[in-house]
Every structure is written in C-alpha cells, then in structure tokens.
C-alpha cells in the first residue's frame, strides 16, 4: 500500500456551547490514499461536517482540534494559522452542501475564483482572468467567458454547485473535501455533479473525501468508505467488501435500511431510535442502545477501532458474528 496522502489519528474536536464543552468529533481515525474517493457516511449529526472542518482547522476558538492530521507526512494540528492558510484552498480545497449560501451573493463567481488565485498563485491579472474562465469550462459551465462575470443568483442550482467546485479547484488542490455536494440538488443534477467529481478526480489526479448520507452515492462513486457514528468511526474499508460483508452492526443496519443501495437513491432510514447527542455516550459502544447484537461486552468499554484483514477497520465487538448483507452476492 502506498503511503496515505492524509492520515488522521485520534482527531478530537470540541466546541464551546451554552451547555459547555461538547466533543463533536471523538477520536476519528481515517486514511485517504492519493487519487481515491473516500466516502464519509453517517446519519445527520454524526460529525461528518465537523471532521472535514477540523482537517482544515476551520473550527473557531474557543472550539479546539486535537489529535493528529498527517498531511503528506506533516501534522496540520500544531501549525500556525499562516502556515495553515497556505494549505487551505491551495493543497486541500473544500466545497459545501448549499452553494446558494456558500457563495457570496454580492461577488461575481469570477471574483470568488480570483480571490483564491491571488492568495495562492503568482499569476498576473490577465492570466488569472484566463484561468477563471478555464476553470468554469473545466467544470462544464457553458459560455464560461460570459458567465465568469455573473453572480451566484444568476446560476441554476446545479450550475452554482459547479461554480463552487471551480472556485475550490482554482489552485489545483490535491485533496477536495466535499461536504454533501449533491444533497441540495435534484436527482438528475446529483448524478451530473457526481460524474463531474469522478471525472475531475481522474483528470486532475485529485483525492476526494465525499461526505454523504446516501449509500447509493457511496456505492456508485467511492473507493473506500468510513462509517461515522456519534463522532466516532464505526467501520472503514474498501466499498465492495464493506457493503458485501459489513463488520459493524451499525453498517449492517444502514445497509438493510435501504432496499438496494446500489440502485436506490434515498436518504438513510436507519434503525429504530435516534443517534445519541454528542458527548452523552461515555465509555461504551455508542451504537449499543440501538443494536440487536449488543451484549454486556459492548457496555463495559469503548470498543477500539481494530485492524482486520484487507485494511479494514471495525469498532464492533461482534464484527465476526454479523450476518452477511442480503444482497451481498449480487
């Protein structure tokens, strides 16, 4: 196996709320290989967005990020803000779920690309302008030379998402953090955006962490998947094997809640009960109260994320007792 591009160990993010410190990312371990798409799935509130923000250290004080985020062998957590800024946008780009709110409504799309180029490249004024047009073309926006001066509200939803991708890609990042980039879009547009991301990954040799709560998206576009639950990684591994034979009771529950994740496009309708609020779990398996396999062993300690064969990881005490997923054989 190649050395990972990004290697996260024990990532812990604490936010300050009225109720005091809340740990929303609770010891996450992840690897991203160069050029791969890692799916990050989990129910709403499981800490997917916070994990992405923590990688770029976009957590505002008094919120705190700790643990290790090894980016090409260099730990980002202790970096100074200025050093971190050279990585944000330049080496690691990020796109958000809702382009309508993530794009500044009063700046043209071109201006929002130029900002990035000014910060990270030595290009002159006209070269920057040319690059902005080229980027819009790259993400499939027609008549890019005209559209570059348009404002976000003049684009359709899908085109806005393409524009946001163009902005994030301006300085050729090696990793793109994509936070539910298709959730706000129509199904047909979702497909187009996913295809665009896969195409860009292939042509730009860029890795992607794709946050989604749609298992169909993972099956269709990801190489590897990490399942998040209550700010912790439940399971991690290559998509095929994980979907065929999940090694965490939560993953199994997720897969069973969708008739056939490879064809259906629907949000997760998981297992009875609701995920716990962050920080209320304590030293036990976070999924235990909703788990059909739960035993006393799940309640006594927080199950560690252990290495299994084929580079798979699981934090399930009963990982080898789970039934195979019904549609595994197909």
């Amino acid at each position: 196996m190649t050395t990972p591009l990004l290697s996260i160990r024990g990532l812990r993010t604490t936010l300050a709320t009225e109720r005091g410190q809340v740990t929303v990312v609770d010891g996450v371990d992840l690897d991203v290989q160069p050029g791969e798409i890692l799916g990050l799935v989990g129910e709403s509130g499981s800490g997917k967005s916070m994990t992405l923000r923590s990688i770029l250290r976009l957590i505002r004080a008094p919120g705190r990020v700790s643990g290790q985020v090894l980016w090409r062998g260099r730990d980002l957590v202790p970096l100074r803000e200025a050093e971190m800024r050279a990585i944000r946008g330049r080496e690691i780009g990020m796109i958000f779920q809702e382009p309508m709110t993530a794009l500044n409504p009063v700046l043209s799309v071109g201006a929002q690309i130029l900002e990035n180029l000014v910060a990270h490249t030595d290009l002159g004024r006209s070269a920057r302008q040319a690059r902005a047009v080229e980027l819009l073309d790259l993400v499939g926006i027609s008549a890019p030379a005209q559209r570059v001066n348009d404002y976000p509200h003049q684009f359709s939803g899908g085109m806005r998402q393409r524009a946001m991708i163009a902005i994030a890609l301006a300085s050729n990042p090696t990793l793109l953090l994509a936070d539910e980039p298709t959730t706000a879009l129509d199904v047909t547009i979702q497909d187009q955006i996913l295809k665009l991301l896969m195409h860009l990954r292939a042509t730009l040799k860029m890795a992607v962490i794709l946050v989604t709560h749609d298992l169909g998206v993972v099956a269709q576009s990801c190489d590897r998947v990490a399942v998040l639950y209550a700010g912790r990684v439940a399971e991690y591994g290559a998509v095929g094997p994980v979907f065929a034979a999940p090694h965490h009771a939560y993953t199994l529950g997720l897969l069973r809640s969708v008739p056939d994740a490879r064809h259906a496009r629907q949000p997760l309708r998981p297992i009875g009960g609701a995920p716990p609020a962050p920080d209320t779990v304590g030293e036990r398996c976070a999924f235990m109260p909703r788990c059909a396999y739960a035993t006393a062993a799940c309640a006594t300690a927080r199950p560690p994320l252990v290495s299994l064969s084929d580079g798979r990881l699981s934090a399930c005490v009963h990982w080898d007792q789970l039934e195979a997923n019904e549609w595994a054989a197909v």
Binding site: R85, R88, F96, T101, A102, L107
Partner: protein
C-alpha cells in the same frame, strides 16, 4: 439600476405631492395668527385684514391649496413674512451649511459605527464588546441637545479646542466650526447604527460564504474587507436611509445649540416668528431631502447588491 432610475424618479412625484399636502395641512394646524404676530402691537382689525388678504389667508382653504400647489410647481415658495424676500432665496442662503453639516455628520457616524461594530462583533460578548455596547447605549439614551451641550461646554468653552458657535469665515474655518455640531449629530446617528450593525456583522461572520472564503485560505483581512465588510455595508446603507429622517430632525436641534446658520436654525426662527411661508418651505425642503437620500441609498444598495438588479 441606471435603467430604472427614471422610473424611480417618477415614483417620487406622488411622494412629493403627499409631502406638499401634509406640509400645507400641518402649517394650518400651528397655533397663533401670522398676521397678528407680524403686526404685534400695531394690530388693528383693518391692518390684520389687510395682511391676511396679502397672504391669501382670507380665501377658502381649497383655493389656498391650489394656489400653493400652483406656485410650488413654479418653484415659488412664497415670500418670507419677516424678511420680505422670496422663501427660496432665504432657504438657498442657508441650505448649503446644513448640507455640509449633514454630510459631515454621516461620515462621522460611519467612521464611528462601522469599525466599532466590527470590533464589538469580533469580540462578541467579551469585555470589549460589552463596554462598547454600554457606551453606545448611553449615547442612544442621551438627548442630542445634551450631547451637544457637553461638547460645547467641554471641548469648546473649557478646553478651547473648538469654537463655540457660528461658522467662521472661509472654507477651513467653516469646517472647523462645523466639526463639533457634526460630531454631535454623528454620535447620535452612530449610536442608532451601531446596535443593528453589530448584530449584522455577527450574522455575516457566521454566514457560510465567510466560512467558504476562509476555506480558500485567503488572508483574514481579505475575508473581513472582501466579504464581511462588503456584505455588512448593504445593511448599513439601509439603516442609514431609514434613519436619515432622525438625522435631519436632530440637525434642527444641533444647529440651534451651536448657532449654525443652516435651515434647521431657520426653521426654529420661522416658527417663533410665525413666518408661515418659511416654515412651509423649510419643511418641504427637509422632506424632499429625506426622499432624495432614500433614492440615493437605493441606488447605492443596488450597486452593492447585484441581486437587486434582477
């Protein structure tokens, strides 16, 4: 926006008509008899009748109104009762000072409110924020004439840093003389602006597009100026437009405190002198100024916010 400007100007006509009606009616509700005030101890019934006829006050009200509108359309605001020259001339002589005063006050208000709103928002709920809000709260609840008197008494009379009234001679001296009155007006306005601006800036700081800008790795000051400031300015303008009426109202007070010979002072003199045509004229001019500022803020807003251009 420029394409829509003629439309916007046309829209102002009914506004002006309405202003004219209101001014006409209000003036007739003022207590006192202008003829009696003019004549003072010489008021005989015959003299009173003569003056009333001269001013047209003996005609039916609706005739008076038509005459008023007719003259207005010709830019004729009547003759000042006390100065016996056209009201337009009286106003033209005193309007420039007020315009300069108001513009200076607006600039002071922005210079005070905008950066401090930013500082407060960036230190939300910390000591700096609480202190700033406290100070502006005091500013908000202090009557404007009292702020003016404090300025006058302390910076003017006590420390002799500034003149205590009038407008001096020449441009430099003029600005120097208008400094304190403009500052007084500006403080009053900034207290109003500051409160809403702080929450606006806090909102903008939390906006996802600011997060996205930060995720691009651009420098913090560029995030602040290019995104937060720019988007907060739109609200600032709206607030400014909404409060310009208060600003002009305060001008009347402040011009009197600082003996500034603008139209605010003129209005007060005219009211006490029962100079109806002048009261009418000044009120009209003030109302038109408010409408024009509305228009200007509208134009500036749509220049700053492309969404308004459809």
């Amino acid at each position: 926006m420029l394409a829509r400007l003629p439309g916007r100007l046309l829209q102002m006509i009914p506004t002006f008509v309405l202003i004219g009606i209101v001014v006409f009616v209000l003036i007739r509700l003022l207590p006192g008899d202008p003829a009696a005030a003019l004549l003072g101890i010489h008021a005989t019934p015959e003299a009173l009748a003569r003056i009333n006829a001269q001013l047209g006050f003996n005609r039916p009200v609706w005739v008076q109104f038509l005459l008023f509108v007719g003259r207005l359309l010709h830019g004729d605001l009547g003759i000042s009762v006390s100065e016996r020259i056209p009201v337009t001339e009286v106003i033209a002589r005193r309007l420039p000072v007020t315009l300069i005063l108001v513009v200076m006050a607006a600039i002071f208000a922005l210079i005070l409110a905008l950066p401090l709103a930013f500082v407060a928002a960036l230190h939300q709920n910390r000591l700096t924020d609480v202190a700033l809000r406290g100070i502006f709260q005091v500013g908000l609840s202090t009557p404007i004439f009292y702020i003016g008197l404090l300025m006058l008494g302390f910076l003017g009379a006590r420390l002799h840093w500034f003149p205590v009234g009038g407008i001096g001679n020449g441009v430099v001296s003029g600005f120097y003389h208008l400094f304190l009155p403009a500052l007084t007006l500006g403080i009053g306005l900034s207290a109003i602006l500051m409160r809403s601006l702080r929450s606006t800036v806090i909102g903008v700081l939390r906006a996802e597009y600011v997060e996205f800008a930060r995720a691009k790795g651009i420098a913090p000051w560029r995030v602040l100026t290019g995104h937060v400031l720019r988007n907060s300015l739109i609200t600032t303008l709206t607030l400014f437009g909404l409060n310009v009426g208060t600003l002009l109202g305060n001008t009347v007070i402040v011009e009197n405190v600082f003996a500034v010979p603008g139209i605010g002072g003129l209005l007060v003199e005219a009211i006490f002198g029962r100079d109806y045509p002048v009261v009418q004229g000044v009120t009209l001019v003030l109302a038109v100024m408010v409408s024009l500022v509305f228009l200007l803020t509208d134009i500036a807003e749509s220049w700053l916010d492309p969404r308004l251009n459809g």
